[in-house]
Amino acid sequence: MCEAMRMAVLALSDVSKSFGAVRALRGVSLKLEAGEAHALAGENGAGKSTLVKILSGVHRPDTGQILLNGSPVTFGGPADARHAGVAVIYQEPTLFPDLSIVENIFMGRQPRTRFGRIDRAAMAEQTGRLFAGLGVELDPEQAARGLSIADQQLVEIAKALSRDAKVLIMDEPTAALSGNEVARLFGVVKALREQGCAVLFISHRLDEIFELCQRVTTLRDGTPVAEDLIADITPDDLVRRMVGRDLDALYPKQDGVPGEVALEVHRLTREGVFTDVSFRVRRGEIVALAGLVGAGRTEVVRAIFGIDRQDAGWVEVGGRRLRPASPTAAMAAGLALVPEDRRQQGLVMDLSIDRNIALAGLAEVRRGPLISRAAEHARAQDWAVRLRLKFARLSDPVGVLSGGNQQKVVLAKWLARKPSVLIVDEPTRGIDVGTKAEVHRLLSELAVGGMAVLMVSSELPEVLGMADRVLVMHEGRLVAELPRASATEESVMSAATGRTAA
């Protein structure tokens, strides 16, 4: 194809953007063409989301231009971009918790009857069609509050797809989804693309990029380093472009020797959510909790950690029963939970990086009754380096970090406590390949060092690559326990979809 003939629906030309001292984007050009899915790759903090926000009118570029159908435009705000036919799925869900799912989908552009009245019937009907296409089984009249991250992501997807957009931008839409939903999403997106929609897709899962996209632009530290046709490169090439070097094994699993039982969950039940869940995790072991979205895995680990009160059953750590519904007691017993929703549950966005890391261990950074700033700083510095955190100053609010780097801060916050049982819920959601390998090596090392690790993950390769044992949940019940040897994609999936009884 001749370069000159490429006609972009939406394009960036030589765009730069800084936030204070941080140069998030430098001289980036990008063309989104009708009928083409364009991937954006890069490590955490490379500037992908910033680019998305420029395309969607949230930020204005410091220099450079946005071109719509070849002519320069200025987006004064998200509304302008929307009018230009740009639909966006942001990295973090942006739902209205008090409003119903239907209202969320149509907010700001509800169909109206002649008298300006909102046409609820039309909204319900369109939502029904959308959900059927995506295979979503949510009640559209339900309020968005309380939806799991995955369900929120699905609603976001439905919202964007309902728009008949000319350009569809998706910032890590699949981070919280498992295989089924991803497949369905891709089906819909492919159909849209074939109808002439331009697609911009961001994901840290390389296989998804290779499955969906035709072209990929790679960013490194805000600078574009390459634009390739997918057909021309391999995943390893892409990793090299992103990271600037070759990567070691993706799942650096070391084999540990399981020791005594560190965590025992006994017939744990929370009515309406999960039932009769029992299992053990030994020291030196990584146990994965697998299942489809909504199977209740997050709810189980929340109850273990004492966030929610269980209706029946109990939890033992190191042979001692935990007081129910008390995270403080759980932490004292040596538990740590890296929650799935880092923005809401993991971090205090307004607080600085070092204070966030110290938050779970306020007792450990004290000198007498007072907090020692030095100890706090040292603790954060130590873990920031170990996790290769990308930051300007440790005193910056954590909210300005990129998504993946925020996730690292949450990990640092809990690892700094040196727990005996580490529970991680989607530990690598939104983390780039390089760091992912890092996190995996870390988890593996910790396990070998005698920590018991319970990992909830929707990423099958991660589950299979990391776990010594896989527990599979289906509709709130534990349906299978598979040792590493017999855990395969097929066996886990069939258990997760309820096709085999345990």
Binding site: K53, G57, V58, H59, R60, D62, G76, G77, P78, I307, P327, T328, A330, M331, L337, P339, Q344, Q345, G346, L347, V348, M349, D350, L351, R355, A358, L359, A360, L362, A363, R366, P369, L370, I371, G399, K413
Partner: protein
């Protein structure tokens, strides 16, 4: 960073107003006037200390002035009943703590919004004060105490000691950190093992006890225990805390800023009254000061946005 800038802003304003008043207002710059004006801020300063904690934790307590009233009423009633004042004082503090505990229980155990709860207890506590003391005014209080309270050193010393203690507690201890975290993101704080409910509960209790302490100062200072003591003081307290740079949405603020704001409001009032400025202007200026103090930094941001032409979405 914002907090730092804020404190300096208030400080500059405070110094500016003081200089203006000292030079331009007759009768401002002498010890007796300054001690009067500081004395006048005692109750507000005391209640602002705990109110700062409460608002930083993203709650609010509108019932403090009513708690003060109730505590005054209890004091008057017990005094009339012949109890010794040294015994009555701790009882009053207990009553205040109890009022705070009721607020705290309703907020933490039932998860009710504190604004709603304390609008309710605002009426309830004041009402109870009327039930207890009715239309009586108790004035025959022991001179030893009433003169103590009008001697500037004692109440101001109390404010200073408690102020320093509160500032250390809020800014340099784990509890303070926890309070900030709760205010900024309660869920994340809970996930970090912070006992959100327990801490909030005790903040309300402390707020109630502090209101009772303020009631003692109030009663002795005016030598008068009545059920309507301190009516309307809650708005003055909240205004001072907000002017001091505490975010009404929680998670942000500093105690030195609040104390400076309390003094600033006191100085402005005193100087304007001395300058024979009409009461309506006084109200107007108070309102303006409140809005302007928040507006000024925001306008700066607005201005900058105009020029760098970027729209932030936090």
């Amino acid at each position: 960073m914002l907090v730092r800038r804020w404190e300096s802003l208030i400080l500059v304003l405070l110094v500016g107003v003081c200089v203006w008043a000292a030079l331009g207002v007759d009768g401002f710059a002498n010890t007796s006037n300054v001690s009067f004006l500081l004395l006048d801020t005692t109750e507000i300063a005391l209640m602002a200390l705990t109110m700062t904690f409460v608002i930083v934790a993203a709650e609010i307590d509108l019932s403090v002035a009513s708690t003060l009233g109730l505590s005054c009423a209890v004091l008057g009633w017990l005094w009339n009943a012949g109890l010794g004042i040294e015994l009555i004082m701790p009882i009053c503090l207990l009553v205040g703590a109890l009022c705070g505990a009721i607020n705290g229980l309703l907020v933490t155990r039932l998860g009710l919004p504190s604004l709603a709860v304390t609008i309710g207890t605002f009426a309830l506590y004041r009402g109870l004060a009327y039930v207890i003391l009715g239309d009586q005014a108790v004035a025959d209080l022991p001179a030893a105490y009433t003169s103590l309270a009008t001697r500037p050193l004692v109440p101001l010393g109390l404010v200073a000691v408690l102020g320093v203690g509160a500032a250390v507690l809020l800014h340099a201890t784990g509890l303070g950190r926890a309070v900030f975290a709760i205010g900024a993101n309660q869920e994340a704080a809970f996930f970090s093992g912070i006992r959100v409910k327990r801490i909030k509960f005790w903040l309300f209790v402390a707020g109630g006890a502090m209101a009772a302490l303020a009631s003692l100062v109030f009663t002795f200072r005016y030598a008068s225990a009545r059920a309507d003591n301190g009516v309307g003081l809650e708005l003055a307290v909240v205004a001072a805390v907000l002017l001091g740079g505490v975010s009404i949405f929680g998670g942000r603020g500093s105690l030195p800023g609040v104390l400076m704001a309390v003094v600033l409001l006191g100085v402005v009032r005193n100087a304007l009254i001395l300058a024979d400025v009409a009461n309506e202007v006084l109200n107007f200026v108070t309102g303006l000061l409140l809005v302007a103090s928040v507006l000024a930094p925001n306008l700066g941001a607005l201005w900058r946005r105009r020029f760098t032409s970027q729209q932030e979405v936090s």
